[in-house]
Amino acid sequence: MVLKVKTGLVLAVAAAVGFFLLLAGCELFGPRSGSRGFSHASHTAKGISCGACHQQHDTAAEAGMPSYRTCLACHGPAADREPYEFEKEIQAHPGEASFAAAPRYDDLRFSHAVHSAKAVPCESCHGELDRKSLIGYQPPAHAARCESCHRENNVSADCSTCHLETRRELPPPSHQMAAWDRNHGRDPAHAWDVMHERNCSLCHSRGFCDDCHRVEKPLNHTEFFAQRGHGIAAGIQREPCQACHQENFCIRCHREEQPRSHFSAAWGGTTSNHCLSCHELAQSSCSVCHKSTPSHFQATPIPPPPHPAGTANCYTCHLRPPHADNRVTPCVSCHRG
């Protein structure tokens, strides 16, 4: 590839990355609307129940957002002290105005009233409210928690109980995206879920990964790939191999099976240093691939003394040995006296 083209591509990548970071920065660190300063923890610590503010929690699907009048019951004008700054903000709002409810997850079929009637504590889903400030976004209760609770209480735990559209047999939108088959391993959410055995297991059995990753081969694992291509692919980037293959898979095969190239007429010449082309002998040894090397037992013995004065270095005379040489293994390990 021409250098200019490479430079252009790198610049394009850099521009894309920069745009992504800019977008991320604006989103993550930009100004937010929402519950600046509000803390559930400080309210629950004072013994205020959830229903004191969310007054529809036992009568409607939505728990109901409080109006400012609700806040004024405690944070209204007081005769004995000056209002705090946040109280001034509250008092500046019309009393009948309500806090806005955040957008609701479209695919949810849920009623607070139903759960309230069953005496399900708020903390069952919302966690330890006494420790949460709820400034900013809160992740939803995880579906696994819902499923677990439903099963324990003999309530349907099927997808349709809580979701309008989600079904086990219907892949979620992320799975229908281009390149999902290829990229799901790169998805950080996937990595996290695998580590914690969460989302994936909601629909997939525990063996789902192994079925593909150990038994069914990906399409690019052709016969050519098995014979030559895999070495090239692994030589560029070996991490993807780890999704399915343990290291000893390579060693076992390489120790026993010779690559296709080794059978060509031009292969194996004594000066080809063929081992060094693939294997870093300074870090491993010939035995990685060659489980036995009978011909080496017949290696030419070192010439008898006297050797050139002042040296026992074979390279003084043998500038380039007629075989692979890692310059680490002593010559005398094969060439005996």
Binding site: E27, A101, R131, P139, P140, A141, A157, A179, C241, H279
Partner: protein, 479 residues
Amino acid sequence: MKIGFALLLATAAAADEPEPPDDTSSAPDMSTEGADRIGEEAEPGPSFEPPGLHLGSLVLSGDLSQKYRFRTTSRESDQDLYGYLNLDGRLPHEGAKGARPYSSLNFNFQGSYNLDIDSFRGSGDPQGSFIPFSDITNTYQERLQGYIYSAYVELEELRSFELARAGRQQIYREYGILFDGGRVRTERWNTLALEVYGGLPAHLHESSPRGDAFGGAGVDSALLPGLVIGADYFYIRDERDRGLPDSDEHVYLGRGTYRANEEWRIDASASWVDTRDRLQQVIASYNSIDWGLAGTLRAARQNGVADFQSSEISPYVFIEGSYAPYYQFTLDLRQPIGDTFGAGGGVDVRQLEDESDDRLYNHSFRNFYLQADAAELWPGSRLTVRGDLWDTVGGDDIHSVGFEVDQKVGELLRARAGTSFALYRIDLFTGKERERDRLYYLRLRWNVARGFEVDTDYHYERDSVTEYHTLIVGIRKWF
């Protein structure tokens, strides 16, 4: 159920600007629906039939596949049988939570076998000529091999433990580690959950675990809204046979995830081996609710800390040597276009810290890929085209392109046909060697009955040397 979504978002996003009092009630049919359902709740929602076989209280689920494979060139052929079994069992304990010792006893088994049914040439057989179908199954002396990937029993909610498991299992801690042993995880206490695990590393293709060991502990903490951090320490001892060097390592791992909001998420991790840093990475991911755009940006630094590491945390080091230190940046974007089309692409750039480290298994490279697909362009169809370019600085390149059509035919049959072409520019000797590999394939999957499928697969492959025909016929049963 995702119970928290509505209330959590609602309470979290109390706005600065006042909203009309009737704003909350505008949502929905949901409110009405929910309110209407109050009286109905004595009845469970929609009917629920848990999947699996019910043997009293025991529920078995899983899948079983059996396949026959025939491969041939103009000179050689090979026939194999292979299969896979995944079996999950769940036996709930009677009684209410708090009164019972545990909530359920579960077990899992995953295994496979391979049987060469003709012309088997195993380890030790003289091999005077190249056999194109030789693979790892030919490195044994028997034509039948079996592998166990998972075999464990576990108790859920065993007193103050969320999980207690024993047997062959895999744990993911930046690396997937397969081991035979035990693992317990506590329920969340305050903000903390603890985990302890240990046993013998399991190497599927190595006969003896003699001298190996694995053990560690981890902690997770949900410190702040949206933020989860964790740390792990584990010890691995990998005693190698046939003269390969042993390894003895202490691994430290720190990790964290921050869900900034519904669309943004940041993951970060760092690991050390003994006192040397190994891998640090930060991943930002974005999933646009409005646009459907999904993007991931990853920055990583890998330090080739040692010449030899255990095979668990540094696979292939004995074949390919240690990774030279590098930086890597990855950008992956996927965008649906209307209801029918979608496009995805990405860039992966790796730069060696020291270019003089460039060698056969250590390259600076650039990987570009593009994919476009269309779903329901006509009823039941899905089309995909994909191109991929691996461009290394000092060595081999791979270019590939493929096209695939997936078509649902009636209720019973799904057909998939496609072709792909790969060009390997191999720089082994001359830098000019090129290998071409073209593949045509057709796959038919018949849903004969609920949970039962017949799978037929035909491949025709032609590379720079010869051509191959492969036929696979199999059945698969889910239960």
